[in-house]
């Protein structure tokens, strides 16, 4: 993975010093809370319902064992012994004291981490595919390009006071695990004419109150032009994005108002000028330098079949269940990708205790070249595990209650903090997730249902990705009571779609029954081997509406 050199180190250290000064100026009353707000936000410090929250950047979700140990230590020392892994592949601490934050940043800097641009109206932490470098069929490792974008966007002088926050996602192949079509800019690495990596660039995707799917405006943009092209998009947005209405300030609204064709035309006109100046260049040597950090690890030459794995699966049904859901194909023979679910039934989606973080870090060191990834679905990935080691890995996970075998099943949700933490919430999200998970706790039943992505937000801001859930649940407030609206058929992958709202919302007491009715309807009407989303696409919402509202 990427390692800082002296330049990166210096920058992050200077940033801590700068932020310490800003906190001091705030505590001394030299600046108002209103003036401090954009400064603290740019450093990941939010004010939540009960306390400040600190969001720490995990660039494109990749961490070393040492970094994960540090995240655990921070949870112990400055928080209540846990952290929350988020849809931005980051980690959040819910209870730090403002006066401790500079010290936390020092600790982070000592392991090449920071909280730069994890909030605020700037270019946020770049996200990527959690299977980067491990998935078969990848055109190129998307983390190379994510790291280049990270550096270019860090303290960008022109684009730090944008109309609104700005999110990038990058994936390295046409199978999209990074939801690139739901980002302000989504990038897919493709093969250029000369066979070298080039970039398909989508613009104007997003969720929030107006979900939109990004438009492809840059096709096979060559690597030398990547940064110039991105600068051009950013400049068009910075000058023309709306600033009069918070809810209309994202680039998706601009793209929608102009139309994708006109947006493309303006970007390309800008691009001609930017390129002409030639100041925005990305040296070949720099690409090569960064690429070297993401060279494949030293895989052993192994047969693809592992008899140790086969035997362990035959002997242990629990382990076999975990392998079936949580382990994915790896491009190298004899290796596999292991997913650690942070969704135990009864737990809080994405939360991990300090002890669990230490365990994951140790297991990564032992079995996966000392590297972990956070996924946007709020789980953890060990990307390069020998099949021969899977059983030992699983035993280690089981001991720390990390062996939940439910990846992409109906108990594996994305869940926003909701009314338990968030000042903007209409309704609680976490208890709803817990209730649904308990309802479907039976593992055989979960397997029978198959892949089904449930995503829950506590208000229309959609931090819990409900628009792109196969089943999406949105908390709404009706005269002071919490209600939940259901949508079906959303998807964040390469077949991107926004879910359709089914009908009137349900109360907290009704919601688990309603989900059960939807699932039973699916099981009745599905065809052989058809996943929920495929059935939905075939039959539409009517059959679900009928059974759902007939029983109420």
């Amino acid at each position: 993975m990427y390692r800082y050199d002296e330049f990166d180190h210096t920058l992050v250290k200077e940033r801590v010093t700068q932020f310490r000064g800003q906190v001091e100026r705030r505590l001394a009353g030299d600046i108002t809370e209103d003036q401090f707000k954009p400064l603290r936000l740019m450093n990941g410090v939010y004010l939540q319902l009960h306390a400040y929250m600190l969001r720490v950047a995990v660039p494109y979700g990749t961490l070393s064992g040492k970094q994960m140990h540090m995240l655990a230590d921070i949870a112990t020392k400055y928080d209540k012994g846990y952290g929350h892994f988020t849809t931005r592949q980051n980690i959040q601490y819910n209870w730090p004291a403002l006066s401790d934050i500079p010290a936390i940043l020092d600790d982070l800097a000592s392991v090449e981490m920071h909280a730069i641009q994890t909030s605020g109206n700037c270019i946020r932490n770049v996200t990527s595919d959690q299977y980067a470098g491990a998935a078969a069929g990848e055109v190129d490792d998307p983390r190379i390009w994510s790291e280049i974008i990270r550096q270019w966007s860090t303290f960008h002088p022109e684009f730090t006071f944008l109309p609104r926050k700005f999110k990038f996602a990058v994936c390295g192949m046409n199978e999209d695990r990074a939801a690139i079509r739901f980002h302000d800019i989504g990038i897919e690495v493709v093969k250029g004419k000369d066979g070298a990596p080039a970039f398909d660039i989508y613009v104007g995707g997003g969720q929030g109150r107006t979900p939109m799917i990004g438009h492809l405006i840059g096709e096979a943009v060559p690597a030398v032009d990547l940064i110039a092209y991105l600068e051009s998009i950013m400049r068009v947005y910075n000058m023309n994005g709306r600033r009069d209405n918070l809810y209309k300030a994202r680039i998706k609204i601009l793209v929608h108002a102009l139309g994708a064709e006109e947006m493309k035309r303006q970007v390309e006109e800008e691009f001609v000028h930017v390129k002409e100046k030639g100041v925005v260049n990305l040296p070949e040597e720099e690409i090569a330098r960064i690429r070297a950090y993401f060279a494949p690890p030293a895989y052993e030459a192994l047969p693809d079949e592992s008899s140790a794995l086969n035997e362990a699966m035959a002997d242990n049904k629990k382990f076999a269940d975990w392998v079936k859901t949580n382990v994915a194909e790896h491009k190298a023979d004899g290796y596999a990708i292991a997913n650690i679910s942070l969704k135990p039934v009864g737990g809080v989606a994405g939360d991990a205790s300090d002890d669990q973080m230490h365990v994951m870090a140790d297991l990564a060191t032992q079995y996966s070249f000392d590297e972990l990834r956070v996924t946007h679905e709020q789980n953890i990935v060990l990307a390069h595990v020998k099949k021969d080691d899977l059983f030992a890995l699983w035993q280690g996970l089981e001991k720390a209650a990390l062996g939940t075998p439910n990846l992409a099943l109906i108990t594996d949700h994305i869940v926003c903090p909701g009314l338990d933490y968030c000042a903007l919430a209409n309704a609680r999200s976490i208890p709803i997730s817990q209730e649904i998970a308990e309802r479907f706790n039976d593992l055989d039943r979960q397997h029978n249902i198959g892949e089904l992505k449930v995503k829950i937000s506590g208000c229309i801001n959609a931090c819990g990705h409900h628009h792109v859930g196969h089943i999406g649940i949105l908390g709404v407030d009706k005269k002071g009571t919490e209600f939940y609206q259901i949508s079906l058929g959303g998807s964040a992958d390469e077949n991107a779609s926004v879910g359709d709202i089914l009908g009137p919302a349900f109360t907290e007491d009704e919601i688990a029954d309603a989900i059960e009715t939807i699932v039973e309807t699916y099981i009745k009407i599905r065809q052989e081997g058809e996943r929920f989303i495929e059935t939905y696409r075939r039959v539409g919402k009517e059959p679900f509406k009928e059974t759902l509202y007939a029983t109420h």
Partner: protein, 163 residues
């Protein structure tokens, strides 16, 4: 309001005149883009330097053809969150090659100064009581930059490869 120019306090002999105000004789004035367009001939006939002020929403394209008439372009920040002016300064310097004074006026925070300098601002209206040391400190907070702008600073990407 004190003026900082090229990193030091400087005398400000420019007068910002409103659209309805009478033009003072023989004094450098800054007018709005609208006034410039309406009273072009009168303004050119004066015997003193001329500046124009761009509001947020008035991109430099508006005055691009006339830039050689101005010794100063002021860019207004109606709120520190409104970052359009960062792009305006970049365009003035990089695209249109303007080499007069580019002055930031309006609501600007200490923590924006260094970014603004990188975009091409060389002058700042600052609040009363601002200390020049604070300005220098703010500009010196970061030793290195990742992005190339018109300020010619070597980027990290260049420094890494001996460029």
């Amino acid at each position: 309001m004190p003026l900082i120019k090229n990193g030091e306090f400087a005398d400000d002999n420019w007068i910002l005149v409103g659209d309805e105000d009478e033009l003072p004789a023989d004094t450098p004035v800054i007018v709005s883009a609208a006034r410039w367009q309406a009273e072009r001939e009168t303004l050119l006939g004066r015997n003193a330097p001329l500046g124009v002020k761009l509001e947020a929403g008035e991109a430099p394209e508006l005055i691009a053809d006339d830039l050689d008439r101005f010794q100063l372009v002021a860019v207004n920040f109606p709120a520190f969150k409104d970052g359009r002016g960062f792009s305006y300064a970049s365009l003035l310097r990089d695209r249109y090659g303007f080499d007069g004074e580019v002055r930031a006026v309006g609501e600007v925070l200490r923590d924006q100064w260094s970014l603004m300098v990188r975009c091409g601002f060389d002058a700042f209206d600052v609040a009363d009581g601002t200390k020049i040391d604070a300005f220098k400190e703010a500009l010196g907070e970061f030793s290195h930059v990742y992005q190339a702008t018109g300020d010619g600073k070597k980027t990290v990407w260049q420094l890494r490869h001996g460029g």
